[in-house]
Symmetry: C2
Subunit: 357 residues, 2 copies
């Protein structure tokens, strides 16, 4: 049964909608006081993510406040390498860390695809719980980090300024890096297929760090693995009704290739105009984005004006039509953003994109 509000899924199929759907990357996050309360109750970010009831609670929180057109599973992009045995933990103010990073061919050879219904059962339970609680109100998006982005954290052992270790591996032992990316890709495909089987109605891959690569390296170490995910997921059960979105920060140079991957949607950051992105992808995929998240620091009037510019930029590149656009930010929200401003944004998207009756 399609959700009561199916704007998001229709837009991903480039079908007509009454107004442009909107959701926001990291819409369940620290900018919401109720999120901070649930996190305090859980004791830590990871305890919250690993508890299906609490993950469900924070997933639903932004939907109670804002007229959002999709929910996104609350989880972390590093659940998969954690289940591979790398030991994910969080250091306050420093972000995610792995206790056992993988840095050579020997460590990589030991990695395997985790079992989705045992080692990652908490994620699938969260998907099932959220679907039940959503009760068909809006569709639920499942997600994963991309093979390259997961590999960045797995090799660096955490965040990085310059990706020294993984780029050295790419240069000195590309075969080992390909082995890592290959097992990551197998795991991401299994992970997304399991989320789909558990009830996710759309899937998104976050290639957060693809943009730190040179074009030659992107085409060798990120793009082929994203393409394999799109092709293999398109063959699985439920594929025809579960669209895939490939999001990447800094993916503007590669939009044509991403649109040809077999995915349904491409998510872009704010360093490219949607007019340009729509022209270059020529209606092959839906586009998702791409307001600069920092717009939320502006006044309500400025937010409305910028929302209008993004909507119109998409239409300008899409032959005057607003169909095939999912509104979003170009990157995730920050903890110091104002919930009131989010409400302004969401309402502005719907009001400024309402199709003539």
């Amino acid at each position: 049964m399609p959700p009561k509000n199916d704007r998001f899924l229709r837009a991903l199929r480039r079908e007509p909608v009454d107004c442009t759907p909107v959701w926001l990357m990291r819409q369940a996050g620290r900018y919401l006081p109720e999120y901070r309360a649930t996190r305090a109750q859980a004791g830590s970010f990871l305890a919250m993510a690993k508890n299906p009831e609490l993950a469900c609670e924070v997933t639903l929180q932004p939907l109670r406040r804002f007229d959002l057109d999709a929910a996104i599973l609350f989880s972390d992009i590093l659940t998969v390498p954690d289940a591979m045995g790398l030991g994910l933990h969080f250091v306050e103010g420093e972000g995610p860390k792995f206790e056992r990073p993988v840095r050579d061919a020997a460590a990589i050879a030991k990695l395997g695809v985790p079992d989705m219904e045992t080692e990652l059962r908490y994620v699938m339970d969260a998907v099932r719980t959220i679907r039940r609680e959503l009760d068909g109100k809006v569709p639920l998006i499942g997600f994963s980090g991309s093979p390259w982005t997961l590999a960045c954290y797995m090799v660096e052992g955490g965040g990085s300024d310059n990706y020294a270790r993984i780029k050295a591996l790419a240069l000195n032992d590309p075969k080992a890096l390909h082995a890592l990316l290959s097992v990551n890709t197998d795991a991401v495909i299994a992970y997304l297929a399991a989320q789909r089987a558990a009830g996710a109605q759309a899937l998104q891959v976050f290639d957060t760090w693809g943009g730190v690569l040179s074009p030659a390296m992107y085409r060798e170490f990120s793009l082929p693995y994203l393409t394999r995910i799109a092709r293999e997921l398109a063959r699985g059960e439920g594929a025809e009704r579960t669209p895939l979105i490939l999001f990447g920060k800094g993916n503007a140079p590669y939009l044509e290739a991403l649109a040809a991957s077999g995915c349904e949607g491409v998510g872009v950051d704010w360093t490219v105009t949607l007019e340009d992105a729509a022209r270059r992808t020529g209606g092959k995929v839906a586009l998702q984005g791409n307001l600069d998240p920092a717009t939320l620091y502006g006044s309500p009037e400025a937010i409305r004006a910028q929302v209008g510019l993004v909507l119109d930029s998409y239409a300008a590149g899409n032959g005057g039509s607003r169909e095939g656009h999912v509104f979003n930010l170009g990157h995730g929200m920050s903890p110091d953003m104002s919930p009131d401003h989010v409400a302004v944004l969401v309402d502005a998207v719907h009001a400024l994109s309402a199709r003539p009756a």
Copy 2:
């Protein structure tokens, strides 16, 4: 009198050279033990930058080790706002900070262009000292931060993850931001003209943070000010023999506009191929770049191979010719890089680009 080694200046004029010239952004830096020794002697980064003899010493250090084709003034990009009264200081591990950031129209209205031969005399003295000590060996590059990049630090009060404050200013009070960018532009032009008068033989503007802007905002808040710098410097004394390079991280979408600004060279990061950059700029300017700095973490063999790819990429976009290319990294060096690998890189550039006799 032209320097004994004038490859760099000839390449910026797109004239034939015996091999492609090379210098490296942040070539005078913490990766060199002799730099760390001088810094320890000075007591702090800022004390070193403000002492012309020590600034000269660290400027010359990499030239003693490597066959570099240009020296670049050792200084900081924030000297100008410091001279405007913002109170530059450095917090260990956190980078530059301003004691008195400017955050509104009233604070901006109080800013003026500093006097170059009093408030920034230490920079001009460093230029004169370095020119004397270089004794015509290689040309000396002077530099400045771009108006937008200086404004980022001036408004944020230091580095930033998301540029919340300056983007809010751009949205809520664009007139105030334009006033700030305008005084910054006047100051940058005066600063670069003074460096030229003191002996700098080429000039570079670092638009380090232009790439964090959306295309519309880049075209409103960074590009016009870069263009004004290029136009006004082209009219000043010594202009005909002192080429200007506009470098920007994330400037790939704007290469055509930058090439039309009136500058002699455009510096690009590694997220675009030089083949593409050369095609799009069509011989209007020289191009500088663009090896991923992380390549220096690779093996000597990998470094040589990657240098060859960058050289060949440029030629492929430039009708098969290597003329008009200044080799550089796509961004600055990091403290944990190996001086031995820098030697491999510099020698590979010269060896792999040597023109047939």
